[in-house]
Every structure is written in C-alpha cells, then in structure tokens.
Symmetry: C2
C-alpha cells in the first residue's frame, strides 16, 4: 500500500520512545509518516534507478526503513519525482530516509544544486527522514578545511530547519568533523541547539575501509556526549555485522549501508566474523533462505546479476541477524558480553574495547542498575563494566564503626550471608556482630556482608581461572578507599590467599594482621 | 531408499580419511555401509519407538548419521528388529550408530541382557556403528569402583571385538573413567591395543549438566593422548553448541545428543550462546525455517507436541549451524580464533581455554605449520597458540656469529626486511651486514630479520592495544635463550620503548646497551 497523502504527525506524538537500554544502546520506536520503526535498525541503501533487489523483498526480509538518494532521484526523475513521491518511485511502503547528495559532494567535490533546492525537493517527494545537503569532512582533511566544511554544513542545516514546513517529516542534522573530535563535538552541540530531533554522524566510510574502528568509536563518543539521551542517532555508511554491535553499544540507533550489494558485486559473502570471498567458503555458516537453497558450489556457479542478487539477499539476512542478536542482547542485559565477544572477530575490532573500558562512566548512565540475569565476568577487563564500576562506587562510600574486619574469598553461595563460610565465621567469632565481614571478587572488589545481596554482588558468574592481583586496579582503588574512610585496627584473612597478598601489603600502618585459619 | 542387504566394505577402504586439520580438530570422511559421513558430525539421537520428528526431516536438515538405542529396540521389537533391520525400524537411509544400553546401565544400575547377546543383536539389526554393552563410570564414582567399571567394560569390549563377524560394521570401543583421568588413559590405551578402529568417550552428561567443561576438556585430552591420530573419536552426550567447538578443537569427530528434543520439551531454544527459555526471547537470533516462519509470540502460542517439534527443529538447525561454522573455521585455519571467541559465551566455558593454553604442545602436532591466512593476535593468551609457539621454538634455536644486535618494534610492513624501518637502519649502519637485526612482537617474541618472512612472522594481524611485558613469559623465555646461545657484545634499542625495558634489565652482563635514536 502506497501512502502519498500524508497527515502530519500529531504534535504530541513521541518521535522516539525508548523501551529498553543497556550500555548506551537502546531498543526504541521512531514514529514516522509511514509507520513505526523499531531501533536499532539497519537501513539498506536502495538505488533510485538501478536497484536490482526489489524493495518488496527488502521489506520481507525485515527492514522497515530504507535510505535512498534524493540527489540521484532529482537528476533522473526531475519534477516527476515530486508528482509521484519517493515511495512510488522506489516502490517501498515503509519509511524512507533520503540522503541529499552529501555523499556525492564527498566523492566528486561538489554538486550542481543548492541546499535550499535540495531541501525543497526532499519535502516535495515526501520522504520520511530528510537530510540537509551537507558537506562531509570525510577523513584526512586538514583541521582548517574540516572546520570550514563543518561551518558550511551547520549554516545549511540551520537554514533548512528554519525553512521547513512541519508535515511530519523528520529532519536529520548531519554531524561532521571526521577525526577532528572537537569539531564533531561542536557540530553536534550546534545541531542540538538548532532543534534537530534526530542527528546523523557523517562519513566514517574511510574509517571503515581502513578498519580504523577505534577512531569510529571515538567519533561516536564525541557526538554522543553532546546529545540529549532522547535524540536518536543515525550512523552513515556503517552497516557491517562487525561494527553494528559496537555502534549500538555506543549509542547509534540506525545505520545505513550499501555494503550488502557492493560486497555481492565482488562475490563477497557477509558472515558475523567479517566478509569472505565466495571462493573461500566450504560450508555456509548460515541458515538463511539462500544458504539453505544452495551449496557453496551451486551458488558459485550462478551467473551475472542472478548470482549478485542471491549473494546480496544472503548479505541482507546476515546483517538483519546481527541486528536481531544485538537486540536480544539488549533485552537480556548482556550487551557488554555480546560486544566483548564480538571484538574477537578481528584485532582491529578488539581495539574498540579499549574505548569501551575508558568510557565506562559514560556507558553507566544508561546501563540498568539492576538486571534480571546474572552478569558474566571473564577477565580483568570486566572490572570496567558499568555495573561493576557502580558497585565499586558504592563500596567506596561504605562506612562502618566496626574495628575488626574479616576478608574472605567470595563463596559459591550468594549472597555471602547465606553461605556456609559465613555460618562457620559465626561459630568461630562469638562477637561476629561487631566485626565487618567482607567477601571479595577480583572484578567486583570488596563485598561487605551487608550489601552482598545488592546487584551484581549476588548476581554474577565469574570464571574460575587464575587472576593476577596486579591487573585489578579498581580492586586496589576500592581497597585503599575502604581502609581510608574506615578505622580498622584488626584484619583477619587467609594468609595463604595469593590474590590478597598484594593488597595486604598496602594496608595502612597499625592494622594488626591475623590469620583466619 | 533402505538398504538391508549390505556388502562388506572393501578391506582396503580407508575407514577415516582426514582432509583438513587445525588444532586437534579435523575435517574427515568416515566410510560406512550406508554412505560416507563428513566429520565433525553431530549425531542426533532418534528414539526407536517414541520419535516425533521424522528421521527424514533430520536427514533433510543435514544429518547423515544418527544414533539410536539398540537396547530399547530389542525390548520393544524383539526378533522382529532383526528381520526388518534398524534402518527400516527408524526409517533412516543414512548411517546409524547404536548405543547398546550402557546409558540405561548408568541410569538404572543394570540391564537384563548380557553383552554377547547385545552384540549379536546389534550385528543382527545391521547397524553401521555398534557399541559393546559397556558399564559407564559417569561422574562421582570412587576410584576403586570406577576402575572395576573400566575393567568390566574392557573385558566386554575385547570379547565383543573378537567375536564380531566383519560385515563392514564399525565397532566402537567405549572409553570409561570419568573424572579419573588415569583410568581414561588406561581405558583408551587398552581399546587401541585391542584393535578398535574408532573409540567413544563415555558419559560426560554429568560434566555437562554441572557445566564442568574444564573436566570435560581434561578428559578428552587424556583420551586423545593415548590414541593414534588416525582413529576417529566419538563423544557421548555432548551436542551443545557451547561445547561443540571445544570438543572439535580437542579432537572429537562425532558427538551425539538428544538435547534438541529434551530442551524442546522444556520450551528451551538453543542459541550459539547457550539455551534460552522461549519466554525470554524477544527477537529470534536465528534465520532458520522455524524462526523465519514464526515470531517468538506465534511460536509461544503453539500447543503440545506441535510446539515441541517446532522448537526441536530449530534446535537441530542451531546445532547444525554451529558444526558448519566450526568446519568453516577449520577450512580457514582459524579454529583457535573461533574457540577463543566462543569461550566468551559463558564463564565456565571460558575455563576451558586454560586447558587449551596448557596443552598447546599437543595441539601443535596437528596444526598446520603454514596457513594461507593471517592469524589474529588479540591478547597475551595468543602467545600460546600452536603457530606462535612453533615460531618461538625456531627462534630459540636461532644462532648467529654476529656480535651486534638491533632490536626494534615489528614494522607495519612485513616481512621486516621490506619495511621502511629496515631501509632506515641500512642507511644508518654502514656495517648492517654484520649486525643481527631483530623485530619483536609481544606474542611472537623476537623475529630475526632472516626469518621475518616465515609463517606466522609476516602473516599475522595484532591488535594495537597496550600490552604489559610481564604478561609475556614466552617472550621472556625466547629472549633469555636467544642471548644465551648467541654471543652479542652490543645491543641497540629504543630506550623509550616501555615494552622492552623489562627485558633489557635481564640481559646477560657485559652487553653494551646503546640507543637506537
């Protein structure tokens, strides 16, 4: 069903409703003139003229929002496009986003149309998400030039937003700046101040092609820290299963890409670990309609456009699956586990994890304080997960008047006060009520008995592997703080505990050390 | 097509042909009376009486070998089974393995049939893989009792093998011992000595249920080290996507399980990260026929056996996909990357990685010395991968008469002698021919210029993250050995290189330290 006569959205309709969140990722609903979009959403690129996979098929695979190019549409269809409307032209009855030629500016230096004309055209074709004609900075631009591009884009965006008629179209503010992160910040802040209700982060294509995923992560963080939580963020040209989980975890809600088709043209098959040349595939690591229909040999033997289309359809399924896995991880509160695992797909993806660890405090804001499921703790890096850091913060404020403290390894039964270990202590120490009992876990740090039932102290599963105390700096910080703000005179601990040894050495002077055994 | 009249396999037919290997895993072909089986293969359990998923469907999903229970078949069909043959009874025209009641012994203590009777029955029903009636040790048995069970099983196995007529059936020797790894070793060795051409490792069900994956790994290693490389190994009751990659990497070729159905009965849906209750699923993280046909809500609303069967079919697809992914990883020479990534699915699975690291030397035997693709190095644990250890071994034997050594960070361009860094050295040191140039990489250790093109020195991608020198003990061992067997008097290095600092301190006395800058 094509809807060309559109009613403006009700003024009080919530543009973006957030249903669930984890890290900076969220499940949300964007309401458009052509239906509701559930995010995170991959937005396939549809070519307005040369598209070979019918947009109906794309909808069927599960994409409710596509992006097409208004500039090419204008060049090819002219005013006819305004008569027909973009939905008829690309034959898609879901929501449509239109890029305005910015990509062509980036590729060819300039385009033969002025921003107001493009804005009018985008309005005219009744696109659902419109983007002002920006001037992308791309990558490798000298700072001065990049700044000029950013300023130009901001000026155009401001005019476009002011001139717009509110017919329910969502205007997206294009953030530029590339690897100049201060420009990304400035750009974002200005667009938010102008009143854009959705933003898009520009042109990481070069980051993607050179696998500079770390820069991509830094760029996203630069933008996000200037944005109110309620504004959705689109990421241009970043629709690969490798980066989708990170982009979502860092707060991107939609991301477009033509990769499904571009790769297909080169015989490249998308997997959740990266792309493979079809010639390198012995067994399809996929269950989709294409991979169930053909053996790798059969698919290789197809010819021309047929082959390209079949690979492209597989690629779309592979991307869709990745988005669905990320969504399910958000629902389960295991997005951290998911991205850290995904990072093992490629060493340069792994580099993104350092950005996560260093920005844990920013991710904490939107990570639920309590979760229904246990969190998984594997190695030292998990000391930086937001839920763990939040627990450390709590213990760093934990005050007691007790003078004696007992420190012991966290028992298997949690919370600690229900464990056999605690019952043994009660039998051993008649004055247990005047003793501060603390369990410990390498990642979580000290776990005072009184708050050993607070999430995630009793809601985690930790690998039983060898942990080196020197790797646990958050443990050390909490330890120092705990003994600083309290006034213990005696500590009981297991003198054979190798993990504790390092920390016992840095106890304040004057605390009597006693053996627990 | 049912084949009941069988021709014995040609005497010189290779029972197990290995096509490709990585770590201790391999892609192989087992030739049976009912066709060839490609391994690694998951072997679904078919109930001889109560099966609700037609075996035709199971074949269609892609399983060429199934396992069924000869003991239940005998009790239910009696001599009729011998007239019909097992292939007709379960209506499966591929290869069939029959368990002989050992599982029932484990569950109920004993069965009312003697081993020779069961062996005759298995021959009579023309099964393709027969198992003597063993006495499984399970888990938690005192050593003495476990030993008695092992001895009983060995005795039965010996008689069974001696009495067998060679009609092309493959008799599988059942390894017992449970967590008593010395018994596992003894059991394996004895079965090999008896002449079994295939073995099966018994009863890790208890390990699996309690998630004691580390014990499972240790048990597999105990068995494998007593087995010739050419003998295929079956693993009983271990068909979960979580453990399949590890089981394969440690050298298991086939593994059976009824989990697809048992889980389905509890509304549990298999994912590559573990099982989920259907009620906890918001988005299907799967592309299979079931997950494409229903939304989670629609599947939840099915009733009774319909629902169970649909979940079970999804579960079979999920398991098949995991096996296919593992196969593709073996073809690509990236099984290490695959299992290390998989380990992040659960902290107790992660514990298995320590077993891998500690048994790197055993895995090295069957890991190709040269691979077509670059290997990925993420963190300190990758110093233990077999290809990396092999390179260390080579460098630990590297001798030169040169007296001066230059050590520098591995350049981006590899091999090092083609890098800008090396050209700069050549300009700087006129006597470069009499100087030993070495690059270094934290995982790979020292890389002498002359062998900087040997795999994997020029064929790896290493994450650019912060590495702590104290974590790299293999580097240290190689460093010590390198300076021990050579006779350097001068070393040039970058004095600002934080990674090298630690190792410079442990140089033999008398080596002059000079700055490279």
């Amino acid at each position: 069903m094509l809807i060309n006569l559109i009613k403006p959205l009700e003024a009080n309709t919530l543009l973006f409703e957030i249903l669930k969140n984890d890290l900076a990722g969220r499940i949300g609903i964007i309401t458009t003139n052509h239906g509701k979009i559930e995010t995170p959403a991959f937005v396939p690129v549809i070519h307005p003229v040369k598209q070979t996979i019918p947009s109906k098929k794309i909808k069927e695979i599960g994409f409710d929002l596509v992006i097409t190019n208004a500039y090419i549409t204008r060049n090819h269809y002219g005013d006819d496009a305004i008569k027909k409307g973009i939905h008829k032209i690309i034959n898609f009855d879901g929501a449509i986003m239109t890029d305005s030629g910015g990509y062509q500016v980036l590729e060819y230096g300039d385009v033969d149309v002025l921003p107001p004309e493009m804005a009018n055209f985008e309005k005219g074709i009744l696109t659902d998400f419109a983007i002002p004609l920006d001037k992308p900075t791309g990558y490798g631009l000298a700072r001065k030039k990049a700044e000029a591009f950013v300023n130009h884009t901001l000026k155009v965006s401001k005019t476009t937003l002011q001139d717009k008629e509110d017919n329910g179209q969502i205007w997206i503010g294009p953030i530029q700046g590339g690897e100049h992160f201060d420009l990304v910040e400035k750009s974002t802040k200005s667009l938010v101040d102008m009143g854009f209700k959705m933003l898009a982060l520009g042109s990481p294509v070069e980051f993607m092609e050179s696998y500079e995923f770390r820069l991509l992560a830094q760029m996203i963080i630069s933008a996000k820290k200037q944005m109110p939580y309620s504004i959705p963020l689109h990421l241009f040209g970043a629709g690969h299963p490798l980066t989708i989980p990170f982009a979502v975890a860092l707060g991107c809600d939609t991301f477009d890409s033509a990769s499904y088709m571009l790769y297909a043209k080169q015989d490249r098959y998308i997997t959740d670990d990266g792309t493979r040349y079809l010639s390198d595939i012995s067994v399809f690591p996929c269950n989709c309609e294409i991979c169930s229909k053909y053996t790798p040999n059969e698919l290789r033997q197809l010819q021309g456009q047929d082959k390209i289309n079949e690979i492209a359809i597989h690629n779309l399924h592979a991307i869709k699956l990745e988005v669905d896995k990320v969504k399910q991880a958000i629902y389960e509160g295991r997005l951290w586990e998911y991205v850290i695992k995904k990072a093992r797909a490629h060493p340069k993806l792994f580099e993104m994890t350092e950005i996560l660890f260093n920005n844990s405090n920013k991710l904490a804001i939107s990570t639920p304080r309590f979760k229904e499921r246990a969190i998984f703790l594997f190695d030292k890096n998990d000391q930086y997960r937001p839920e763990v850091m939040a627990y450390h913060e709590m213990v760093r404020r934990f005050k007691t008047k007790k003078k004696i403290v007992i420190i012991l390894k966290e028992p298997n039964i949690k919370p600690g006060y229900l464990s056999q270990d605690y019952f043994s202590l009660k039998r051993k120490f008649k004055n247990i009520k005047s003793i501060q009992v603390c369990y410990y876990n390498p990642q979580l740090g000290l776990i005072p008995n009184e708050i050993s039932d607070v999430f995630p102290a009793a809601h985690h599963e930790t690998a039983r592997v060898i942990f080196h105390p020197k790797d646990f700096s958050e443990f050390e910080k909490t330890w120092i703080k705990f003994f600083d703000i309290n006034d213990f005179t005696e500590i009981y601990f297991d003198k054979k505990d190798d993990f504790l040894k390092r920390f016992i050495k840095i106890l304040p002077k004057g605390i009597k050390k006693k053996s627990l055994n």
